[in-house]
């Protein structure tokens, strides 16, 4: 039986005071740094754009985790595959942005199909789902390399290569565009969840599937929708990454890893946390790479994962995660 005593008011996602204060301090630090040094500002802006991409993919991971308590190890490869699809569309004559939107639709269908065909049969077992997503990782990687080969390919730059100058700081149109697109897609998704009936249904299905079923929510379809939306986010991340990494089968692999770190940092259950975590990791990886000599390129990944491990040890629910109640 549920506890009937009056619950504490903090059942919400924890945007607790120390965390908010920490984030405010970080913002102040960054602002001051940007004002003082133009290199700092450039690295920060580049880091913001990069972080927006990590955040998008992290958001996709969190979407799926919230609904089904599994991590989709194939999220990056799915994003990569849909980017190749966009590439193919541009080869067939579509403009970048037309291809972009068509690809989003294709990605949605792709996500739904993957959930229904591959995940649903095994969703009762965490290990089985992990292994199926790993199998998908390998399968998708093989399919893409088979169809398009492993060599680098290039798409037309979506934002052009112009740069803007602000004093002594150089900002690329690319970075700004990536930031805007990422922010926009996050806002649209948030609006979907907050204000639409389907969004409410998805939230209900993720929170309490049994109760949701009783009010008429088709829980299984909500899960499939969740995967579809996650795939759309992944496609956005992929198409925003392509200008800097170019098109190759391994393009999303490091990004997936940073996205894991971002998702954990933000709290696996918190969409806001994933986005913020991504930005934080993007910015700080850049700054550390710039200013800490020991932190050479080979150590980027271990550092990101050191962050992940420290977070897991100190505050396992991440910055914004809810306190997990362990059912006995």
């Amino acid at each position: 039986m549920l506890g009937l005593a009056k619950r504490k008011t903090s059942v919400t996602t924890g945007g607790s005071l120390p965390v908010v204060a920490l984030l405010a301090a970080v913002c102040v630090f960054l602002a001051i740094g940007c004002a003082v040094s133009s290199i700092f500002a450039q690295q920060t802006v580049a880091g913001l754009a990069q972080g927006a991409i990590y955040g998008s993919l992290a958001l996709a991971l969190v979407l799926i985790y919230r609904a089904t308590e599994v991590i989709n190890f194939a999220q990056g490869e799915m994003a990569m595959a849909t980017t190749y699809v966009a590439y193919q569309l541009t080869i067939w004559g579509l403009t970048f942005w037309l291809a972009f939107f068509v690809t989003l639709l294709i990605a949605f269908a792709f996500g739904v199909i993957v959930q229904v065909v591959f995940i649903r049969p095994v969703q009762h077992s965490v290990i089985a789902v992990v292994i199926v997503t790993i199998g998908l990782f390998i399968l998708i990687d093989g399919l893409v390399t088979w169809k398009w080969g492993g060599e680098l390919r290039f798409m037309a730059a979506p934002f052009g290569n112009n740069v803007y100058r602000l004093g002594s700081v150089t900002l690329s149109r690319q970075d700004i565009g990536v930031l805007l697109v990422s922010i926009l897609s996050v806002i649209i998704l948030w609006a979907l969840f907050k204000f639409t009936k389907i969004g409410l249904g998805m939230r209900a299905a993720a929170l309490r599937p049994a109760a949701a079923s009783l009010v008429g929510v088709r829980v299984n379809w909500m899960l499939a929708l969740g995967w579809g939306l996650a795939a759309v986010l992944g496609a956005v991340a992929g198409m925003m990454t392509e200008p800097s990494t170019f098109l190759q089968p391994t393009m999303m692999q490091p990004i997936l890893l940073y996205a894991f770190a971002a998702a954990v940092l933000g709290g696996l259950e918190s969409p806001a946390g994933a986005a913020i975590g991504g930005v934080l990791i993007g910015v700080f990886m850049n700054l550390i790479g710039q200013y800490v000599d020991f932190a050479t390129a080979e150590l980027r990944l271990p550092i990101a994962f050191a962050v992940l491990l420290v977070v897991l040890l100190v505050k396992p629910n991440g910055l914004f995660g809810r306190r997990q109640v362990r059912r006995v």
């Binding site: 039986m1 009937l4 504490k8 409410l200 249904g201 929170l207 009783l214 009010v215 088709r218």
Partner: protein, 235 residues
Amino acid sequence: MAELLALENVTARYGPVQALHGVSLTVAEGEIAALLGANGAGKTTTLRAVSGTVRRDGEIRFAGSGLSRIGPDSTARLGIAHVPEGRGTFAELTVWENLRLGAYTRRGALKDDFARVQTYFPWIDERRHQQAGTLSGGEQQMLALARAFMQRPRLLLLDEPSLGLAPLLVTEIFRIIKELNEHEGLTVLVVEQNAHIALQLAQNAFVLEVGRIALAGPSSELERHESIRRSYLGY
């Protein structure tokens, strides 16, 4: 009065454990029926069998036609609202979002329904943005009723609405249930351990023992029945 719900020889099991051994009962349209029995008798399982939450065999007829073995989301669409043990409240969502979820299967504008909910539960409007998990036990029960009402169902299945509530609140809840039944024509099948108040509310009652109906009949008769008085009414 026409029959709205009929169970014929319904059996149900949880894995290897048989919970219902052939339950048969009918609920007429517009009436309140009570399902009584001790812990473990199978009352909750019976409700679950109707809403499709548990797999079952046997025949169930709803509004004249047979209810095939569909899941709870489909039975909700057919007009059956099930308020389960624990109330099924979405604690993390707001009061208003809970109500909206109640109306998930409905199409069209909900303004009328919100207005009607207001008449039965006047306190709801000013608390619409409060998180449902922070409501008191009695308020959560009322929210559950309101949520079920938003669904505009033909049949309301209630599982132990009095559980854990102070007697004053229990009276209040049951008063509201009676109003919903009389003014909105809502048919109710209520499971209760509190036999006394259930028999006062309902026109007909069934007593479950170890997965079978042991006694059935009008409440007035059951109230006077020897074994009922001894086992459930305490005198």
